[in-house]
Symmetry: C2
Subunit: 502 residues, 2 copies
């Protein structure tokens, strides 16, 4: 893999605006670090290959980003104006149109790539508890669910289980029941399979519908939407409060009778598009650094956090470089993906269409886990690439706290590029209320109120897929901080002498 | 005031179960303390007038209280079974019936006192944003509001203001408008006047309705109910999120057009009752210590926190003493008040009916600020009474952390007794997430997410008057802890040689 390193110490500048050398003696220092295995932090400080120009550019990006509230202002405008942006909705298309037009007004290169996306429609829906007392039950049908049969309300007794294992043990009781899944929230990845597989699992045992406790550590009678796997019975999320109430009622041997009505159905696929905002590389335009977020949201959510923030900080990267007159060696491509929530067709379409560029793509980063205070990137890559990124973070981003390289996770929208071998990553953020801050809604609450479970890094999953995912949960400064962070990582990688080593 | 102290050192026991002397040399030690002004904490430890029997009783109460989850189990049962308990509803009456029956099954003396209460009915209600985009706006009509005129939806432009002062400045713009009040939450007492007076204030300037940002530091698209003062225009609470959105829209010079529909109306008063659970004093039965909480809740709220917890820990006090065979010298009276939320008719009725007992009532305590971990009582009283209470707290309750006497606040339901000169107080609680705990939703969030404002003592106002005020927000152990605390304060005061000094 050494061939990817260009160790010429004084290669003349190739791009008009890149007036001085960007990286120096890269191979030597990285080789030193990676020969120690994982101890990439051991790069000796005196041997940095980061140039003074790179440092000046990074500082300029930070200064420019911090001087405005562009991301917040634009995101507030689209969330207030268009509202939720589910795939297939006119709101999504209007928001994409607006972003495209506005990016053009920024003087940026913008283009679209057609994507065929699903169009699932919720229709009307409700649930009522009929016994042991009458009560409206707040629900949100899960994405991809079918309607209740024959367009009619369905009335059945409930069976409450806390886990798939528990259902297996008493599966003979599920016939004809609405199975209520009441799993404790552990973390998103651990608990979300209940949303995905509750219906198809319960269906096997003759259940007529499922209601799944919202996949969240906390709520205030909050329902959390989300996609489910195909099943022949309808499925909806309920609140934490109601799921626990059903469990108490069952523990009292009370018959729980629920009426459920859902009109959910799937329309024919529609045409939409990924909107791509690009800054062409001045030296190696055919080589790429790609990054982005997704523009679609659930139909109950303004999608400020998930994932307007991720999409708009990516756009802001290109705008900042343009304003500063900075030109990367390689092409930077900010992608506003569509249909991340229920199909990933935007990500799949991009990966398929650009398969020939996989070997030319140095890095793919997504922001889709909130846009609180950034602390770095998670990345899956070779050790050598990790060493390079770690050095960039230490030299250019530690001043604003977002220079850490940790973890190996990447988001859904870059996962298809990762499958093609592209080093892939995600922006990592910390809720500023995390840690020692007293004002911290960031721990998993578990079932109690004593807060003894492990902390999470942000309140992201309080808002995720809910109508509380609104712009007021975001902070203008934090958004600009995220944009500066994304800009420095991507611009610096785009200016390396070589692609990141696979 | 010295005559109230009975300093006889070895008065023989008067009640069958009070086998040893309860208090010793009271006057001497208290006089010592109060002669130093407010420094009641300076009571010398070696001169306690708390008897060994009092300490044994307190320890027995704590042990018995901690051995069960009675309050939680009962409260979960009534909230799950009857749901919200607004004054005038059959749910309230059913819950009162159940509590009365169950307390009788506990072997306790229970009786009712009739109270005429208002019956305000919400009916159907909705609001929609028509421009600049269409969106359902979650509302909850304020208690006492009238309907929209002629039983029809009302459509008008909105005018957003952040304060009464701002409305005064631009009051000429209010004519024909729906005035949206968007005040920052400071603390409940500071901010709740917006709920109370928004409609009557805006009405003066020709507004056709008001929408008031929910009086809460935080929400997840949560609407908070509450009572308002009489006005000739309809009024409803909206979420923090929507109030802030309207402000952003106005700042963009967008016309905000809202459709509002409310059927709210007031029916004739109904008969209800305070339910009183009593343990007669064995020595001075005509003298009293009263305490309680309220049984009514808003019609959107199960009322677990506000105030089922307060009512049921009061009932639990009497149950605990009965189980332990402890008999107070004076009568203990646990009152399950009705109609605290929108009329205080239960409190007023009790105070009027028992006016002749005001001079015989040693202390009146309410629990209506949450039933998290108790840390003591707030009390308005003479310095001498405060010194006595402080000594009780130090000697009997400091072991479980709830022996502090702080503040001078008391709750609504004991305020009419306070007006009659009765020393009055409130149970004080701390959310265990308060302070150093990282899992802390207890700070006022203000407008941002950075949590820089002063801490509150609990998440009470996250749940208060909302559909999220459900039993799962309470903790069985904390409830028993509250019950033990209330029991020791009231039982010990009931056993003093004299009434608390006025």
């Amino acid at each position: 893999m050494d061939q990817i390193f260009d160790a010429r110490p004084f290669r003349p500048p190739a791009c008009a605006m890149v007036g001085v050398l960007y990286v120096l003696s890269l191979a030597a220092s990285v080789a030193l670090a990676t020969s120690r295995g994982d101890s990439v932090l051991a790069l000796p400080g005196s041997e940095s290959w980061i140039s003074a120009k790179a440092k000046r550019d990074a500082d300029a990006i930070i200064k420019e980003a911090f001087s405005s509230s562009t991301v917040y202002d634009r995101l507030a405008y689209i969330t207030d104006t268009f509202g939720p942006r589910l795939s297939g909705s006119s709101a999504l298309e209007s928001a994409l149109d607006w972003a495209k037009d506005q990016a053009q007004k920024d003087g940026l290169k913008v283009y679209e790539e057609e994507v065929k996306i699903p169009s699932w429609v919720r229709g009307r829906e409700y649930a009522s508890l009929l016994s042991p007392r009458t009560k409206n039950i707040r629900i949100i049908g899960l994405g991809g669910s079918i309607s209740t049969p024959d367009g009619k309300p369905l009335v059945a007794k409930a069976l409450v289980v806390n886990s798939f294992d528990e259902l297996e043990k008493i599966n003979h009781q599920a016939e004809g029941r609405i199975v209520v899944f009441n799993p404790d929230f552990v973390d998103y990845d651990t608990t979300v399979p209940y949303r995905a597989f509750a219906a198809s699992t319960a269906e096997k045992y003759g259940a007529v519908a499922v209601l799944v406790r919202s996949i969240s550590p906390y709520g205030l009678q909050t329902v959390h939407a989300g996609v489910m796997n195909d099943a022949g019975i309808p499925a909806a999320a309920i609140t934490l409060e109601d799921a626990k109430m059903f469990e108490r009622m069952q523990n009292r041997n009370q018959d729980i009778v629920i009426e459920l009505y859902m009109e959910a159905h799937t329309l024919p696929d529609r045409l939409s598009r990924n909107v791509i905002i690009e800054m062409e590389g001045c030296e190696k335009p055919q080589e790429l650094v790609v990054f982005g977020g997704h523009m679609d949201s659930w139909d109950n959510a303004d999608g400020a956090m998930d994932d307007g923030g991720g999409a708009f900080i990516s756009w802001e990267v290109i705008r900042l470089l343009k304003v500063l007159g900075l030109k990367p060696k390689r092409t930077l491509r900010a992608i506003l993906f569509v249909n991340e929530e229920n199909g990933s067709k935007g990500a799949i379409s991009y990966a398929n269409k650009h398969q020939h560029e996989a070997n030319l793509t140095s890095l793919a980063i997504e922001s889709d886990a909130g846009t609180f205070t950034p602390y770095g990137i998670s990345v899956t890559s070779s050790k050598k690439a990790r060493a390079i990124l770690t050095h960039i973070g230490q030299r250019l981003l530690s001043g604003i706290g977002s220079g850490n390289v940790s973890g190996t996770e990447y988001g859904e929208d870059v996962s298809y590029l990762a499958d093609q071998g592209v080093p892939a990553g995600s922006l990592q953020v910390l809720d500023p209320r995390y840690g020692d801050y007293a004002n911290n809604p960031c721990r998993a609450f578990g079932d109690g109120v004593s807060g003894e479970t492990d902390p999470m890094k942000s309140a992201y999953f309080w808002y995720h897929h809910t109508e509380a995912d609104t712009i007021d949960k975001l902070d203008p400064e934090q958004l600009q901080h995220c944009a500066a962070t994304m800009a420095i990582w991507t611009y610096t990688v785009a200016n390396l002498d070589s692609l990141l080593p696979r």
